[in-house]
Amino acid sequence: MIEHGWLIFLGLSLLAGILSGIPVMLILSGVPVAVAFFASLFGGFDLSFLQAYPQRAYGVMQNSLLIAVPLFVLMGVLLERSRVAERTLMQVSRLLGGSPMALALSVLLISTLIAASTGIIGATIVMLGMISLPAMRRVGVPDSTASGLICASGTLGQIIPPSIVLILLGDQVSNAYLDAQQRAGNFAPDAVTVGDLFAGALLPGLVLVALYGVFVTLRLARTPAKIQPDTTPISSWDVFREVVPPIMLILAVLGSILVGVATPTEAAAIGVAGTLLITAARVTSASDEHSHPAGSFPHQPEERRSPAWLRHSMTGTALVGFALVSLRISGTGRINLNSAEFSFGGGSLLALALTVLLLAGLVLAVVVLTRSGVFGAALSQAVQVSGMIFGIILAASMLSLVFRGFGGDDWVHELLTGLPGDERTMLLFTLLVIFLMGFVLEFVEIVFIVIPLVGPILLQHIDPVWFAVLVALNLQTSFLTPPFGFALFYYRSAAPAEISTGTIYRAIIPFVLIQVVTLGVVFAWPPLATWLPNLLFG
């Protein structure tokens, strides 16, 4: 143990630094450098190791997979600002009737949709807390059930694809898997893609949603409504036009990845385009804050302030987009400019015309959104969020460099292979470590620190998709577990003071149990994670 004294010192310094409240990014990069320099005074570290850092930074900058990250962030920010989620929530709960159970179930349903589309847990939880909590309390959902539901369903964004966690995990797991297979002597392994992980996480994610739903139903089945349900008739057309666009958007993004047509980055670009259309159709209501003070829950659907022609042209543009896709699928609309026998068939002309229409619609959306200030603000916020994510990734690569410099990877190797039992013990141990790390670190740090260390050892025998799904579920559980779960902190910041922290901690327990059950099921029965990717990608 004593030869790893520097590693233990590094670990303790990191823990102290993180708890000091200094930005995690500075701690993860600064503390290892300081410890490395200190250790080098005693001959404990070779400083030339650190010169490899720029190459690692360039590796992050030139990683084409990560291009999807800022685009998905932008999509999430736009959806949040356009308040699509709020409107959808409102309409769905009206449709389901005003009972506490109906409202709670619609919150679950909508959070699943938002989770799928944004995947930023902090933002989702704060937003759900602000828009759905007052409504749920008013209707008579007990504080505890409401709090637990918001925290739990707010973290669904990590597991339900397309999720940023899964993209980052995909990057790290596929590198680790290649490394592992080469160590095991397999020099031509099948690559693991982000698409595999998306497909793998889909069923476990839906199982979680279903179990949450069962719990909420059982819990609230007999809870009477505190206020008379809103009986104003609601046309199914209203619900249709609020709910269908986001669903189509998610289907388009997820579908194009799962069918194997588009890369995550390409799908993310399509997602942003679709989001721009949805947002532009609601533009004016998105820009004025006073119509919706934080915490209120508008009773009546807000007036639609976007002019009708704008909404219709956005719908039209979306339809044009889908028409282009179906042309492409039917194979008639392909214009092959490269081939010599270039012909203006009917299909090609149609595709060309549709493309022009699509671009015109998108340009209109961008112009409208830019003039109302929504686009610029969303870009700005997305830049900040991506800056935060990449700061952590760059800092984590500094930490792992120093960790290797101290011989930490050998130590992890010894530790894992020294465990009694087979690779399942190693896996359980890894999951436990990740779970504990989830208390002090965000997922990006953990993914970029732990996977490169344990992956090359574990993935020699373990299915990479199964492993990644377990890690994602595990991280999500960790964020929910009191007293340090990140999700609970985010919720605390959005919840009114009369909901005590103790209530929140108690409220989350049933949901944590559901998580643990799901984790156990996936652990015991890997096909739940691996069946769909195998079916889709072979």
Binding site: G30, L50, M61, S64, L74, A269, V383, M388
Partner: protein, 166 residues
């Protein structure tokens, strides 16, 4: 001191605008690539490279923007209970002990790479790709310098915050 803060704030609004523009370009470029590829069957390597370059630049230039807006993740289990003065002192410690050394050293480590890249006018590794990769590589030391500038400005501002709290 005042000059430092003013300069830093001007530089910040420039960086922020550049990042907004870059993100917009990534979106437009990537969408164009998608349309060209799936509707017209054309691969456009130069454009894909332009997207990749914009992304590489955004990765590092986003750091100083996030620094100024104070959105880098913190764990505030204890911080939430600290007074303004103590928080400001911890901020100063983070900048002095970690931010400036790490980013300063990164400039020092990356310098030979960048100099070499300039000397051969390094271009994209893709065949038929864009020239000018050496400019993209120069963004890393530039971003480090911007981080240090913003760090110094935050250091001074945090110092004033701590003083006013006395």
């Amino acid at each position: 001191m005042n000059l430092l803060i003013k300069t830093a704030s001007h530089v910040h609004s420039g960086t922020r605008r550049a990042c907004q523009l870059l993100l917009g370009m990534i979106f437009i470029g990537q969408l164009t690539v998608v349309i060209l590829r799936y509707v017209f069957g054309i691969g456009f390597i130069e454009l894909q490279d332009a997207v990749a370059y914009s992304f590489a630049t955004l990765v590092v230039l986003g750091l100083p923007v996030a620094q100024v807006r104070d959105v880098h993740v913190r764990v505030d289990v204890f911080r939430a209970h600290q007074g303004i003065r103590k928080q400001a002192r911890f901020d100063q410690l983070g900048i002095f002990a970690f931010l400036i050394p790490v980013f300063g050293l990164t400039i020092y480590w990356v310098w030979p790479d960048v100099a070499y890249s300039w000397s051969i006018r390094e271009a994209s590794v893709e065949t038929g790709g864009l020239p000018g990769l050496y400019l993209v590589k120069s963004m890393l030391p530039l971003a480090c310098a911007l981080m240090i500038l913003q760090g110094l400005a935050s250091f001074v501002i945090a110092g004033e915050r701590a003083k006013n709290d006395d």
